[in-house]
Amino acid sequence: MRWQNATVTQIVRRSPTVISFFFRLPEFIPFIAGQHVSVRLTAPDGYRAQRSYSIASAPETTDHIELAIEKLENGEVSPFFHEVVEVGDEIELSEPIGGHFIWRVEDDGPMLLVGGGSGVVPFLSMARQRALVGSTAPMLLLFSARTRRDLLFMDELDRLRGRGDGFGMVATLTREEMPPAGVSKGRIDAGIIAGSLARLPGKPRRIYICGSNPFVENAAQLAIDAGIEPAMIATERYGL
């Protein structure tokens, strides 16, 4: 595994629990949308902690990589990022990892992306890449979050949707009494899955589901109930 000392160049809050960290790498290593990197922190006595985070930036933006890190209350690494890390700090990052939960432009579509909370992060990389290279592969993002403030990247996703090039989005909020216009209320259920599938021009070639384990399991089983082949479903389960 190759490790590099990356420099934090920018810090942007994305939601009450998620902050984006932009890194400049001594050497940019090409990656595939959906991949993750490991972050390695080292204490003065040599103690190390290592965690993986999905890449949010597109493979085309080679001057930085963006990691959107959710703060886990009992975490060891994510609270450090939220509370300690500043612009200018050096953090060790691994080369990109993961050969399964990935999308390449030539993979085309249609595809359904199902993200729960910060599980939307790898889909940002895919959607950004798709727009940057001018792909018109049909891509529908089904995004579930707790409240409207937890819909991270919403402005950007709205802009991508506004391009009218085959990228669509369905959002649903599980803990919001009065969701904003165009946003559903409640957990992902059979109706939302059916409605999302119906908005694609054909049966998806691949369904990607990312989020907490219960979220992923629920969405995956609903997709299977809706007639999707289990082998077409790629999952990424967060939770550490």
């Binding site: 000392n5 922190l41 204490a43 990892i97 050969g99 995956a220 089983q221 999952t235 550490l240």
Partner: protein, 201 residues
Amino acid sequence: MATRGFVGRRSGSDETGRLPPGQFLESGFPVLSAGPTPRINTEDWSFTLKNGIRPVKSWSWAEFNALPQSKMTRDIHCVTTWSKFDTAWEGVLIEDILGDAFIEPPTGFTLAHSYDGYTTNVPTADLVGGRAMVALRYEGKPITPDHGGPARLLVPHLYFWKSAKWVNGLQFTEKDELGFWELRGYHRYGDPWREQRYTND
């Protein structure tokens, strides 16, 4: 190089020497897998031992449960850096499966197969000698589907992706054939004590 401001949250058990490098102690039992949890009915379940492409023997759920049952309590280590101590499993040791099929291991390489199409390679030597089992029970209860039930491979001395969930067969192969994650950037062998996480570690 130390990371500015990082001290870390050490677990006391670190001092017992049971935590491999780069791991932290987890009290829960996180679930990770590359796809949906398959729906497996024990009435339809079967387990097949193969030598190359040739099936040697298959067992139904009832037949498999009638094989000698053994207990193993072990520390487990996930490549995503969590470890869990003293996990208690019960199932059938690999040598007891081989014994019931009246065969000695024919090759040094084994590929485990699962209901969802997942595969993982383990040297045969790592599966015998009481080091591995097909587990049917966890903490005294049937293994839940998200943790690999009804049956999962348990090879606790290697990173836990080697302990294939929803296992339905072992296949002896002439050479070391890489499995699902091993073809996707993860280490061929996966020894947590040598931190063999990724292909070239």
